[in-house]
């Protein structure tokens, strides 16, 4: 048994060692949550419209594949807000203010788009960076409140969702260059500030999704490989031990919130700077006093992805996928709201997915793995496994 383990670690592949990792259990938990959520969704659809349920459900499941470009396009902002929530959560902070940071980032990007003239190749890049800075500012404020005055970040960031949204609406409406009062939306952005499209026919998918995925991978590396990630996770797991080890908890809280805000701000920038498939137009913002839903969807994405940046990539794409499928279910007469119900159920299940996961693990163990586990447990006092290199 022990020899087995050693050699497998050397060769680098062993199914058992994979199934034991935390990432794997989070992954199975998410799959289980999704499966249960989908079954529940099917039941809801059957209750709503029995004769069309299967057709509608098929759209939900596979409809997204026919519009993969759109799936990626709509995944971009929620991937970013998901990272904003998940990254802060790694430190034990519940950044519920992704919406405000997202809106702020969007405004900063809009401002650069309308009010600053720059060469074509540079304009959209500067606008994206401006969006990031806008989000950073909106993340910094709850962070500094938390660090210096120990004000709960949930409360401040909820408040800053409202403050941010109303401020932006006010600024937009007060700016004649940006705002067309008769259409109660912003003007079309100049094409120089739109992010280059990836050229998928009939879709707005653009470089933003590439950036978002690269950012997620970068965050993964930061969390796994750097001393900053080490401190951040240590603080999230046990802030007393982090204090004891001399980590600068307050500084790290502020830095984490700035990064999280910047991520959500980038999400806002990616959303508003996306190119439009219709020539001469662009994305627009409507200042109608509603908090950006993409911020809250980020919480769902982060939860489903277990706050793991790589997991968040997939959960964002998945949620976008069933959202697209859901809007297609419209074709057979289902309201898109039904999809929101299904997504809500998936999130609901993923919230206690870990419990289900351990129950499942118990079941599997009792069926197959009893002897193995027993040997492991008993090996504890006698083996130190020194060679596990």
């Amino acid at each position: 048994m022990q020899d087995n383990k050693k050699s497998s670690q050397k060769s680098g592949f062993d199914f058992r060692s994979i199934t034991k990792t935390k990432g794997f259990s989070a992954f199975t938990a998410a799959l289980l949550a999704i499966a249960l959520g989908l079954i529940f969704g099917l039941i809801v659809m059957t209750l709503a419209n029995p004769s069309k349920a299967m057709a509608g459900f098929r759209y939900v499941l596979v409809g997204g594949f026919s519009r993969f470009g759109d799936v990626l396009y709509f995944a971009t902002p929620i991937l970013m807000t998901g990272l904003a929530v998940g990254f802060a959560f790694k430190m034990g902070l519940f950044n519920i203010g992704a919406s405000g940071q997202y809106t702020m980032g969007m405004f900063f990007a809009l401002y650069v788009g309308f009010m600053v003239e720059l060469p074509a190749g540079l304009h959209w890049i500067v606008a994206i960076l401006a969006g990031m800075i806008g989000g950073m500012i909106w993340g910094f404020i709850p962070g500094i409140f938390k660090a210096l005055l120990n004000v709960n970040e949930v409360i401040t960031s909820i408040m800053f969702n409202y403050i941010g949204m109303y401020l932006v609406d006010m600024w937009v409406q007060g700016n004649a260059t940006m705002y067309i009062a008769s259409k109660s939306r912003t003007n079309y952005l100049p094409s120089t500030v739109q992010i280059p499209s990836l050229g998928v026919q009939g879709s707005n998918v653009n470089l933003g999704i590439i950036f978002a995925i690269l950012i997620a991978v970068t965050l993964f590396i930061v969390l796994q490989k750097t001393t900053f990630g080490y401190e951040l996770k240590a603080t999230g797991y046990n802030k007393y031990a982090a204090d004891y080890a001399g980590m600068k908890g307050k500084r790290n809280v502020v830095v984490t919130m700035i990064i999280a805000g910047g991520l959500a701000g980038l999400g806002g920038a990616f959303a508003i700077l996306a190119p439009s498939a219709i020539a001469g137009s662009s994305m627009t913002y409507e200042p109608i006093n509603i908090i950006a839903a993409n911020g809250f969807n980020g919480i769902a994405v982060a939860l489903l992805g277990s706050s793991n940046p790589i997991g968040i990539i997939f959960s964002a794409i998945f949620i976008s996928h069933i959202q697209r499928g859901g809007s297609l279910a419209n074709l057979v007469g289902f309201k898109p709201e039904i999809i929101d119900v299904v997504i809500a159920v998936i999130i609901y299940f993923s919230a206690f997915a870990m419990i289900m996961n351990s129950a499942l693990a118990k079941f599997v163990k009792s069926k197959f793995g009893k002897k193995v586990e027993m040997a492991n447990a008993n090996a504890e006092p006698t083996t130190t496994n020194k060679e596990a290199k």
Binding site: K5, K225, T226, T227, F228, Y230, K233, A234, Y237, N238, Y240, A241, A242, D243, Y244, A245, G246, M247, K362, K365, E373, M374, N376, A377, N378, A379, E380, P381, T382, T383, T384, N385, K386, A388, K389
Partner: protein, 515 residues
């Protein structure tokens, strides 16, 4: 054929991945104090939980007065006259003593509680057995010792005749322990049967009639306490010889390593200061022990010393350098190592692997990181070295998640980390709390080795035996002050106890020049 009141025959209880009780038999005679001895994780508490109905055994049977009984829950146990004082008391903090005692068996008339009668009965019981309590006090306001008396009264109120005590002395002062052992003896003489779970051999020798020893879930044997010795018992418990006295040479104190002057710390619980002008020195090559009963300011003092909390007054010098205002990291770099009181709260990140915990104080050193990226190879190599050197046992070596390790090995990991780190002063706060004799012996050896390597050691301990055996100098702390300095070679446990309980104090120079 002997007459047993309770027989637990061939009990086997499994948990996922581990057999907690493997074919264990325990027979309890009427009117005896029966000790149940074993290391941490030997299965003592599991066995008692089976008897008390908290767990159901997979195999084996329980007999009461020769008849097979089925105990499915604590109510069944209660109906059979079995009561238990848990290690962590099961009391409702915001209820009064009386309300806690009658909880679950409230005498009532048409749904209204009849407290008067209950109170009379409780007072009678408390007088009869010398268990002083105030029935109207709130649990949250009374001392741990009194809370334990409430737990005992709970059993007596329910007229239990089989009383289980799960490590009852861990939270008590020496005087209180003595009192409790006397009370237990009294119960036995009255015909009640006592099961006494412990890993303190002295208490067994003092109070028990017979002793059953468990080791790693297996039954080792039952011995008559009169005909056995401490050494014999400990050999049965750990499977090898254990030395009780700590082998050490006479200390050769060198230069002053730590010098604290007039340290004052505000309390978080009340308006008074938790630490009041504490002044003392620790020299290189000596173990200074800060003794005292829990809650007399030791925790707050250590927090101020190590930088976890701010102090309101005073100064600290470490190796001649003023560190009064230094951060935790700066203190650590200046040569302070700290084995914290609560290893789960402060000492470890339980979700991290063993190797990640091994570098918790040092991950930022250039040895372990390059431009902000952790050198995982170096971390692995370093922690493997420590694991080998300090014999830290775990399921998967450096990649074991620390939460899955036993308490003793978690503590060993912390000790390895803190001792291997460059340091001149080791602050060890209750380093052996909750550990078994094997681990305690090991940790004491490490403390002495640290001293012999010319470091200063400040040991904060509640365990009298530890205080007497390990330290070179004892400072007793009572209500936030140092009330006495004692020499372990000339003082006695009784005298130490008097200082700890505030009954005696001397005005040594240490306390004089504090003001």
């Amino acid at each position: 054929m002997e007459n047993y009141i309770v027989e637990m025959l061939n009990i086997t209880k499994e948990f996922p991945g581990i057999i907690a009780n493997d074919n264990i038999t325990l027979n309890l005679k009427k009117g005896e104090v029966h000790a149940l001895l074993g290391e941490n994780g030997a299965g003592k508490s599991t066995l008692m939980s089976v008897l008390f109905g908290l767990y159901q055994a997979e195999k084996g049977e329980i007999r009461k007065n020769g008849e097979v009984v089925k105990i499915n829950n604590p109510n069944d146990a209660n109906a059979l006259g079995i009561g238990m004082v848990h290690q962590h008391f099961k009391l409702v903090e915001i209820f009064t003593v009386l309300e806690n005692i009658i909880l679950g068996v409230e005498p009532n008339k048409m749904g209204f509680i009849e407290k008067k009668e209950a109170k009379k009965k409780v007072i009678e019981l408390s007088e009869k057995y010398g268990l002083a309590i105030n029935p109207d006090a709130l649990i949250e306001n009374i001392s741990v010792g009194m809370q334990q008396r409430v737990e005992i009264l709970k059993m007596l109120y329910r007229e239990n005749e089989i009383l289980i005590f799960d490590e009852p002395t861990a939270v008590l002062t020496p005087q209180e322990i003595k009192e409790l052992l006397k009370i237990m003896r009294g119960f036995a003489e009255e015909g009640k049967s006592i099961l006494f779970i412990t890993h303190k051999l002295n208490e067994i020798m003092e109070v028990a009639d017979r002793c059953t020893v468990l080791r790693k879930g297996k039954y080792i044997g039952t011995v008559d306490v009169k005909t056995t010795t401490k050494e014999e018992l400990s050999r049965m418990m750990v499977g090898r010889d254990i030395s009780f006295s700590v082998d050490k040479e006479i200390s050769k104190p060198g230069e002053v390593v730590l010098s604290v002057n007039n340290i004052t710390v505000a309390s978080k619980l009340h308006k008074n200061n938790a630490v009041k002008g504490v002044t003392f020195d620790v020299r290189a090559g000596e173990i200074v022990c800060l003794a005292g009963i829990e809650g007399n300011g030791q925790t707050e003092f250590v927090a101020a010393l190590t930088g976890l909390e701010k102090m309101t007054e005073g100064s600290i010098r470490l190796c001649g350098k003023d560190i009064t205002k230094s951060s935790i990291r700066e203190r650590s770099i200046s040569g302070m190592s700290h084995i914290p009181e609560d290893r789960h709260k402060h000492g470890l990140v339980l979700e991290y692997s063993l190797e990640e915990n091994m570098v918790l104080q040092r991950y930022w050193e250039s040895k372990f990181q390059n431009k902000g990226f952790i050198k995982f190879d170096a971390v692995r190599e370093y922690s493997e070295g420590l694991i080998k050197q300090f014999d830290v046992r775990s399921g998967q070596g450096p990649i074991t998640v620390v939460r899955s390790m036993s308490g003793g090995n978690q503590q060993k990991a912390i000790i390895a980390r803190e001792i291997d780190k460059k340091h001149e002063l080791l602050v060890a706060v209750q380093p052996t709390r909750g550990l078994d004799v094997g681990a305690i012996e090991y940790i004491h050896k490490q403390l002495v080795a640290t001293r012999d390597a010319g470091k200063g050691v400040l040991l904060v301990s509640l365990e009298l035996e530890e205080v007497m055996n390990v330290s070179d100098r004892i400072l007793v702390m009572y209500e936030g002050e140092i009330v006495g300095e004692l020499d372990p070679k000339t003082t006695t446990v009784q005298e130490l106890g008097l200082y700890m309980s505030g009954a005696k104090r001397n005005t040594v120079k240490e306390t004089n020049h504090a003001g």
